[in-house]
Symmetry: C2
Subunit: 199 residues, 2 copies
């Protein structure tokens, strides 16, 4: 039983890593099975399709990231703005790790899938939309706290500011990926601070 649940986790781990690097369509189930060291029959024992796997892969990745974000928020000093900055840096962490470990910025799993997938994988798209909504929600709560504490100049609605902040992260990761230049990641927080009117 331990072995079986191992195989399932290995498939999910491999799919997340390979999908971020190679994209959804280019990645075959056979590639995932080879990387995970499981037989193709096992794949279909656990997942109905690549789409079903991808929904679970996204869910698992987000559950793990949300825990990491919550831990980063609990530890962060500096009030709501310190927590907001910790959250932004935590969201960028994978890109920095990629680059230092492999020399390549692979981008964000959610962003990559969002721009690759067409209308043919509606379940994945719906799940990605929910993940982005949750990210925006986390950012919006911190922006709201910072506004109440008078730490932010902008009086625009917290959720609009939060969408701009998440857009700033996703857009800059896109530019960093296309140039494979991690220095661009350092521009995210200053950009976010500007659009929030951090005083």
């Amino acid at each position: 039983m331990g072995r079986t649940s191992d195989a399932r986790e290995r498939i999910l781990d491999s799919s997340r890593r390979l999908m971020r690097a190679r994209g959804y369509t280019a990645l075959g189930i056979a590639d995932i099975c080879t990387d995970a060291g499981v037989k193709k029959g096992s794949f279909y024992h656990f997942f109905d399709s690549k789409q079903a796997l991808t929904v679970e892969a996204v869910d698992g990745q987000w559950a793990q990231e949300r825990r990491a974000l919550e831990a980063a928020l609990a530890e962060a000093a500096g009030g709501p703005l310190g927590r907001l900055r910790a959250l932004v840096e935590c969201l960028l962490g994978t890109q920095r790790t990629d680059h230092s470990e492999s020399g390549v910025i692979h981008g964000c799993l959610y962003g990559n899938l969002a721009l690759e997938l067409s209308g043919q994988e509606p379940q994945v798209r719906r799940r990605l939309s929910e993940v982005f909504d949750e990210q925006v929600g986390m950012v919006a709560r911190l922006i709201g706290e910072a506004q109440e504490a008078g730490l932010i100049g902008s009086t625009a609605a917290a959720d609009a500011l939060a969408r701009s902040t998440v857009a700033q992260i996703e857009g800059m990761v896109l530019l960093a990926r296309v140039r494979n230049d991690p220095a661009l990641l350092d521009e995210v927080w200053p950009g976010a601070a500007r659009l929030l009117g951090v005083t």
Copy 2:
């Protein structure tokens, strides 16, 4: 000869449209030929590979968009900020047209390719990087003019502000695509204005 050059243009047009909607990997040369109404043999008469076609498709699209941007800048009223806003709205125009014509936001050809393609298509990646550099350059020149005219509060370097602006566009188009919600496109200019400190 007219007929031959027609076929080449039809292949390029089809590839741009289909690639933006379906992605790079999912799109076969046969699909492109069918859409363009040309034989597969003709494809290889004009292009060595899908990668070579894509470089030309990106080049052609950017040449066309740059002309549209320059025309929009020439017509825009309201000084450097009016021109900057016209440029941002022109970059978003395709998404609005997509949605009103087909009900679907397909995203930006350059952004979609940037997040889908791995290191296997280095020529496409290099060309995308150059297109984004040119976009950033156009935005930076207008920001520089607006700074000189005292229309922008931020004293940060114009090229860093321009990268943040382009990131804001690409990131918000990503969120608009995943939610298929054109209302998010209306948030780009207010976001850009905030990060520039438009007074």
